[in-house]
Symmetry: C2
Subunit: 673 residues, 2 copies
Amino acid sequence: MADPLVLFMPSGKRGRFPRGMPVLEAARQLGVHIESVCGGRGICGRCQIDVQEGQFAKHGITSAADHLSPFGAKEQRYSELRELKAGRRLSCSATIEGDLVVDVPQDVVINAQVVRKSASGRTIERNPAVHLCFVEVEEPDMAKPSGDADRLVAALSRDWRFERLEIDFGLLAGLQSTLRAGKWSVTAAIHDEPQLGPPRVIALWPGLKNEAYGIACDIGSTTIAMHLVSLLSGRIAASAGTTNPQIRFGEDLMSRVSYVMMNPSGRADMTAAVRGAINDLIGKVTSEASVSAQDVLDCVFVGNPIMHHLFLGIDPTELGGAPFALAVSGQVHARAADIGLDVNPGARLYTLPCIAGHVGADAAGVTLAEGPHRQDEMMLVVDIGTNAEIVLGNRARTLACSSPTGPAFEGAEISSGQRAAPGAIERVRIDGETLEPRYRVIGVEPWSDEPGFAEAAGPIGVTGICGSGIIEVVAEMFLAGVISEDGVIDGSLAARSPRIVANGRTYSYVLKTGEPLITVTQNDVRAIQLAKAALYAGVKLLMQKHGVAAVDRIRLAGAFGSFIDPKYAMVLGLIPDCALDRVAAAGNAAGEGALMALLNRDHRREIEAAVRRIEKIETALEPDFQALFVNAMALPNKTDAFPNLSAAVRLPERPAATAGEAATGGRRRRARA
Amino acid sequence: MADPLVLFMPSGKRGRFPRGMPVLEAARQLGVHIESVCGGRGICGRCQIDVQEGQFAKHGITSAADHLSPFGAKEQRYSELRELKAGRRLSCSATIEGDLVVDVPQDVVINAQVVRKSASGRTIERNPAVHLCFVEVEEPDMAKPSGDADRLVAALSRDWRFERLEIDFGLLAGLQSTLRAGKWSVTAAIHDEPQLGPPRVIALWPGLKNEAYGIACDIGSTTIAMHLVSLLSGRIAASAGTTNPQIRFGEDLMSRVSYVMMNPSGRADMTAAVRGAINDLIGKVTSEASVSAQDVLDCVFVGNPIMHHLFLGIDPTELGGAPFALAVSGQVHARAADIGLDVNPGARLYTLPCIAGHVGADAAGVTLAEGPHRQDEMMLVVDIGTNAEIVLGNRARTLACSSPTGPAFEGAEISSGQRAAPGAIERVRIDGETLEPRYRVIGVEPWSDEPGFAEAAGPIGVTGICGSGIIEVVAEMFLAGVISEDGVIDGSLAARSPRIVANGRTYSYVLKTGEPLITVTQNDVRAIQLAKAALYAGVKLLMQKHGVAAVDRIRLAGAFGSFIDPKYAMVLGLIPDCALDRVAAAGNAAGEGALMALLNRDHRREIEAAVRRIEKIETALEPDFQALFVNAMALPNKTDAFPNLSAAVRLPERPAATAGEAATGGRRRRARA
């Protein structure tokens, strides 16, 4: 009779194992990650499994009765002490007696969410760098003198199969009292990152410790966002964000670099500011989740190169000018204490690698989360900020570059521009006939032409246009014929509509009359054209390098990417043509990448390898970039066709003078596709 | 034609290598450690060799002419810039052109001593855990963006053949400026301890750095002794010692443990005291050698378990009572900064393992230096202090124990006892006929019965008896028949000599009349008997366990061991019988062991493995110990014969009542030997 077949879900891993083997042991042999803090003593309850009778037939397993050992003494004891849900078994105790389909639930912690999914819907399998190991240590024996630390290591090695194990020096002073407080039973937190050497004991608690947390943090120039995550269940226990206090030293990245260059204590001030804000966030998420900061054992950070350097205490001045040299581009491992984080003194810190001088660990996080390097399809990932980080590729080959879009998309350099905040116009429609606009304001439900708008807008009223509003108003002006393909506001329309007004030697479009008057000036349009041309030229450069004429999928990362409408982004020519339903926002993909690296160290190896393989393109060194930039000034583009967009939106006819060239290009590409 | 034969001295390693290969490369392939900081660029001058024509015939190499390439351009440049001694060549430049005998001189540093020899005469081959690597790093390149740190690692890996290399986090902040200050040429200090993981860059200097130091330190309860050593040449640059300031918390170990137990800040006070003293010593040795403390990159410490724990910041209370549990018995790796040492911030720290709760890292250092585990002979190593640490064994099997000798040997508990200091009697002879003594005093050349003694003794005069004096006076009293085999001062002699005086119900021996009166009382003799019996019983216990009746060689470690005369130690029965010329002092063998571990990391692995293998005997658990102790109260011993001693010294006849048994035992053993 063949050994029973055991199938683990959701991983689908399967194998045959002898009768009588604990299910946990079979899982380990297959590499199925079932958490067990107590090492099979039936104490921690972490190794719970579900054996679902109904699933058997569908997996080709025909009989289910008595395929698992009866409820044993360890399970009995555990269920009396701590409750075991109906149907749940402890896999350290339940043994294989026949074919089985085993569900590995991810919810053994109260309130756990079922499975951690990435923003792109992927499940994050847990395999964190830090895990807990409960162990019973031999008591000291005069006849066999060996140190407490040495007996701890021996016990961990024996029960948890470590070949070599080191102990953090900082633990030695407290080791004796912890072992005695736990009556020689302790839980060790083990940091196991093979690239750093043997696993290390980084924290120790008396008795059974059944919870460990990590933080995943995205340090943006404007906003710092943090998740507090259970390393044992993957559950996000709390999330919080805060303004990056470095803003007081300079709004944008370059002014922060200038501050460092001009002030002797500039670098130190900036570093202290960002670390302080991160400690405040740690305080916030831990108190929100009623978790002790001492239980935070691992921390993963992403950020653009300048944020990354300042956070790590490195002078970012070199990043302010060519050759934009990073002090360190690879992943950084440190101790959280090295940078003064208010977490467990033994906690570790990991930053994702930076891709290039302008394409940082945040872009690496986005890449990890969105995974162009995991796709067969050609995927474009764009993170739009003062610089746009662009990653294009698939499983075979991935390229990345940064393009200097400037701050226009963030509302700066725009006459009525403002940050995304209550009062800001975020959506715009312009009637093609009357050229009358209607718009929607952040925090206000009705559109401007709908009843109750003024009441809903309240005392704040309408204060300006935010980034997504600017995209839409310029795109709508183009669609309505107010601006031409080359971005000129058509002054002749002033005769037809009071919305077109002279402004010196150029014209403006009046989006809102009254106080404040909100107009889109010719300069505003030019600023948007410059910004979008930079982005588009970067994308095109990568497409040329990759030798592709079209992309299969576009992901817009970051806050800005979440708010803009893909259609308008395409009308304006921020992004190349693509089926509209295959363009989507990726949310805070950088933070999601940090989360993935926190929950599974294999993802660290994955992104480290991916970043090494990514071909880094420096736009400033590319002779073609200028021509691509000039072509990209036109709306949507001077030479590229947008067949998918044209099918969805009626684009204005191109003037005969330039249409021939563009149409030819467009036809050629359409024919290829 | 066969490839040329190359023989390296003093290691004797040899091999055949193709013509044209640099000698340095051949050395590396054979594992001959020739230092090269610059990696064969002809800059550092560290790889100098001597090719001695005269040695050829003796090694069977017949012809010497033109067997080495002519003086090359790199050598020319080096000799112009920095001087190259006659006959010296740079092995990175000189290539093999025929059979060669290559001398690897150890003196390339000014003032270097030829070879580091251990106290026992062994050469310490250098293979330190920290070494320097000069490297030229690629400049940043926008077209190939990678971080400064990453290019540094790439260059080191390429030139120095590291497979994986990590950089200390603390170096990242200063990396950019160091690389630029050195115009992309830097010297990295690499800490390579395979048991901790991949090698790590721990310090970095612009340009070529040609000197690195380490400290080896023995933390005694009374004295702290330190060597400052060049890691590149093995030269001891300076040595210094200081009183352990913990003495103000308690003279002996147990009173220091009591202090920790009684005072809330006791442990912290003691730790701060010893670390402060060590930092003072670091200041002393570095300033004496005109070396920057920043150039100290590795530190090795030994000490007894309580000193070891207090130095590492660990509470020693558990060592104050059974089961005498060490917090950690294995080797400890840390950063010098972890304990606040004033050396390079990246410097590392290593403590030798402790053998047992009473047999510490100092005993491990003694073992490493004396090497019973490397001998074919049966070697006894004894380190006498308040506890005697005893190691007995050979290559096949080594045992260790500690025996509580008490403070008598240090002059405490002795009526006229004092520390070894000017004024203390250190040598004694007693005339067997007249019972008149003569003695020698520390710091005074003539003996007490020689002309000019009083003048030489000066105002200090004679103040007491130190440890070695006590050994001698009691032994001489025994040899002169003043005390019997069982240690009783023979009061009947008072009739014959005024030196024997009644003292209550017992008698004393007057060693010095006048002021101060210095006598040896019956209680003094008893105290010495108890101390020596403890030591001897420990030795005998190990001999019984090992199944040997005699030892081939005895080494007396520590300060006390250096001052006592082996003959008197044997007359008294501190140590078992042995050929007198095979009993020797080992000096500060513990410190020597620390030095060996500093200069060659293989010695770390050696002592770690040896300590794991050593059989630890706890005298308190041994039923035979008490009987051995009782027998050992007699002088030299109740049951053991001392054939070697008897041949050298006329021992008093044993009384008939007990002589039979002893003589039989003695004959039996003599017959076996």
